[in-house]
């Protein structure tokens, strides 16, 4: 019961469209909370590396903290993006295109997140 925020009566009566709304809402907030420090770290790091050359940039990204933080950023960012874009699509698209668009966004975010993580790992473990 504690895992969703509906009242015991609403839970017993099965109210709610797909019973997934609270989970979506909560995941959007938790990923947002994670993104506050991660994105601020990212912006600060980019400022610090403005104008630095390839070798310096790679050396930075190979440090454990930068590797881990960048991977966490990619996970939180694309999870949040998928959740957010899904709500935007559901609010404005009312045809069958909606389902295709939501699935495309989901798969696209998954692919981009995976590609980003692989890129970071390739840099971290290269040479």
């Amino acid at each position: 019961m504690a895992s969703d925020m509906r009242s015991p009566l609403a839970h017993a009566m099965g109210l709610g469209s797909a019973k997934k709304g609270v989970g979506h809402w909560r995941a959007e907030r938790i990923s947002a909370l994670a993104l506050v420090p991660l994105t601020l770290w990212f912006v600060a790091s980019i400022i610090a590396h403005t104008g630095s050359d390839y070798a310096t940039f790679i050396a930075w990204l190979r440090t454990s903290i930068a590797t881990v933080a960048m991977i966490l950023l990619l996970i939180a960012l694309f999870h949040h993006t998928a959740l957010g874009l899904q709500v935007v699509i559901e609010d404005y698209v009312h045809s069958e295109v909606k389902f295709v668009a939501v699935i495309a966004v989901r798969l696209g975010c998954f692919a981009l997140g995976a590609a980003g993580i692989v890129a970071v790992l390739r840099i971290a473990f290269s040479g």
Partner: protein
């Protein structure tokens, strides 16, 4: 409910363009728009990391695009969109705890997040230009 009932034109609320834009409604849609824009920026992040993983030549191409005037303009827009979405998001998280719903609080937090976004964007670019000029 039968199909004929569902297809009958339902009364619609007045169209949005007849309303005077207010800080509350403008910031609401701005949060959405910046969120969608930042999705595009997230794609750029992956392209940038992939180029860095590929090698110096690929990285130089992505850097060249970013350093061009159009790249810098988009990056500036992305910075402002990021801070608007960040500050707006924090405002939403405060609202989610049930606080800050007095009309005055809503306007104070609204103008504060706009001011904070402008200041943080300016500070970020000033710091970046300072580091680059070192």
């Amino acid at each position: 409910m039968s199909n004929s009932t569902a297809r009958r034109p339902r009364p619609l609320s007045p169209n949005i363009q007849i309303y005077r834009p207010q800080l509350t409604s403008v910031l609401s849609i701005v949060h959405r728009i910046t969120g969608v824009l930042l999705s595009g920026f997230a794609v750029w992040l992956v392209v940038w990391l992939s180029a860095a993983a590929t090698g110096p030549r690929a990285y130089a191409i992505v850097r060249g695009v970013t350093a061009s005037w159009i790249g810098q303009t988009l990056l500036l827009a992305a910075t402002f969109a990021f801070f608007l979405h960040l500050c707006g998001g924090i405002r939403h998280l405060v609202w989610d705890t049930g606080r800050g719903f007095k009309l005055r609080s809503i306007y104070v937090s609204g103008w504060s997040m706009v001011a904070a976004s402008v200041v943080l964007t300016a500070a970020t670019w000033a710091a970046g230009l300072f580091v680059a000029a070192r």
